[in-house]
């Protein structure tokens, strides 16, 4: 009996979807808007995240060592640093020779500087460690840790200078921007999603309002609550599913069109590539939210008319 009921409910859901053609169409259109908002939120958060990540990636602390520092000591320090919870391993080690090669390459068109270097006879450059933090707010504590190491052994310190304090302002400002961009994005997202869900919910309530006589008849022939709700639930899920498919189709040309622009503007991120590469995930999110919003709205909306 259970399966017969399930079969009947699904069939009735399909029929009511098909025969209420115009109403179904308008609900689908409204849901497409909702799902489009949800999808755009996904894309914009990806764009925001990649941009911020790239900015964050450009920030680091450089520790410059004196020229007489022994490589073993520097590597020991590198190991210590990598064990700090705030530090994002690996810490990059640039030896004196590499540093010199880099310097020469940077100034290969500058004969004057190269000549001066030659006259010095020896390599004037010290080795460096480039440290990245897991979170921009951690730079301060890392810098303090390095400072404590320096003062610990003032007499035989191998550290020449730490460039954190020159960059402090820029790092602080960036930290603030990243944090506020994240929280603003979250608030905006929740707000947009909430509004569009409410609109969809209202549309579906209107659809079911038109069926209130039907529901009261079902009630009076002794149909159980679940049996009455079932077809509306199924029709709601169908609305959601079809809207999701249409939304995904719309995103194809839209991202294709925006792809080139975003790749130029936000260094290297082409949202069309992102869309095609992560299609599975986006498909699941959009179809899942469509079906959930459609079926839950219907389920809740019918409840009102079941109190006969």
């Amino acid at each position: 009996m259970f399966w017969i009921k399930v079969k009947r409910i699904i069939r009735a859901g399909f029929f009511s979807f098909w025969r209420n053609g115009f109403i179904s169409l308008s609900s689908i259109l409204v849901m497409i808007v909702t799902l489009f908002v949800i999808g755009s939120v996904i894309f914009s958060s990806v764009v925001l995240k990649t941009t911020l990540d790239q900015l964050r990636d450009k920030v680091d602390i450089n520790v410059y060592f004196i020229t007489s520092a022994k490589e073993d000591d520097i590597l020991a320090m590198k190991k210590n640093l990598e064990q700090l919870p705030e530090v994002l391993p690996p810490v990059e080690y640039v030896s004196r020779e590499d540093e010199l090669a880099n310097f020469k390459k940077r100034h290969e068109n500058d004969q004057f500087t190269l000549q001066a270097l030659e006259e010095l006879g020896e390599n004037p450059l010290g080795a460096t460690l480039n440290i990245k933090a897991k979170d921009p707010s951690n730079y301060e504590s890392i810098a303090r840790y390095i400072d404590s190491k320096t003062s610990e052994a003032v007499s035989n310190s191998i550290i020449d200078k730490v460039n954190y304090y020159q960059n402090k302002d820029a790092i602080d400002r960036l930290t603030k921007i990243i944090n506020s961009a994240n929280s603003l994005g979250l608030i905006l997202t929740l707000f947009l999603v909430a509004i569009s869900i409410l609109i969809t919910f209202n549309t579906i309530r209107l659809v079911i309002y038109m069926s209130r006589d039907e529901i009261s008849v079902m009630r009076l022939v002794g149909a159980s609550d679940r049996y009455i709700r079932g077809p509306f639930f199924v029709a709601g899920a169908i609305y959601g599913f079809l809207s999701a498919i249409v939304t995904l189709l719309i995103f194809y040309p839209v991202t294709l069109w925006l792809g080139g622009a975003t790749a130029n503007f936000f260094v290297g991120l082409n949202i069309f590539n992102y869309y095609t590469e992560n299609f599975g995930e986006i498909f699941l999110i959009i179809v899942g939210s469509g079906v959930l919003i459609g079926s839950i709205s219907s389920y809740l909306a019918v409840r009102k008319y079941l109190r006969v």
Partner: protein
């Protein structure tokens, strides 16, 4: 079978719909309830169907107080009662077959029973040819016959017909009354409310007359006297 025991209904705004109504309906009876609009006929039926609860008094069906039924028992109870409305209340996006099949599905009948019984019951109300039509393709009289077919398809113990002829012309009215009489002859209790003097006078069955929420007459072979 059906027993209204001193039933009153007062709404929150102090208007009284029913006042101390008591009567008994025996199995296989054909009872007409007559009265002006607002006399309390529809309220009475709604209370019997459990759509509204009495403020005072009790309603018994086969010895059971229906106010004590839970949701599930109420669904089962309603399946024993067929209802016919003045405005037909057919489901507009289902065809005739599906409208009737729906009542059987709700009662948990098998697909085989549905396929066998629906054409049969439509023949009974002489609508066999319109089985695949939708309600908006039917005349008023035809709609009401579908609605009767739906009410009787689960072989209920009681048929309630609330002003079934209110929207019909005299010829269709006569047809519908004949069908109700036939159903009653086959052994189903029928409760009919109506305004129609001609219907009551031609039936020559029991008539309960109501006024301002009270029963003022109850005649075994009644006539329409208001």
């Amino acid at each position: 079978m059906i027993h209204f025991d001193d039933v009153s209904k007062t709404y929150p705004d102090d208007s009284t719909a029913l006042e101390e109504v008591s009567f008994v309906i025996e199995p296989k009876e054909f009872v007409s309830i007559v009265g002006h609009s607002g006399a309390g006929k529809t309220t009475l039926l709604k209370m019997f169907l459990g759509e509204e609860k009495p403020t005072k008094g009790k309603i018994f069906y086969e010895g059971v107080d229906i106010s004590t039924l839970n949701k599930k028992e109420m669904d089962l109870f309603r399946r024993k009662i067929g209802v016919v409305f003045q405005d037909f209340r057919l489901i507009p996006n289902k065809n005739v077959y599906e409208n009737i099949a729906f009542a059987m599905e709700a009662a948990g009948r098998t697909d085989e029973e549905i396929e066998a019984d629906v054409p049969h019951v439509l023949d009974l109300v002489d609508l066999g040819k319109k089985i695949w039509n939708f309600p908006n393709e039917l005349s008023g009289g035809e709609k009401q016959r579908v609605s009767i077919a739906r009410a009787i398809v689960n072989q209920p113990d009681v048929i309630i017909a609330d002003e079934p002829t209110g929207n019909l012309d005299p010829l269709n009215t006569f047809d519908i009354v004949q069908i109700l009489k036939k159903i009653n002859d086959l052994g189903t209790t029928v409760i009919l409310t109506t305004h129609n003097k001609g219907v009551i006078d031609s039936l020559k069955k029991r008539v309960i007359t109501m006024e301002n929420g009270r029963i003022i007459r109850d005649d075994q072979q009644g006539k329409y006297v208001i």
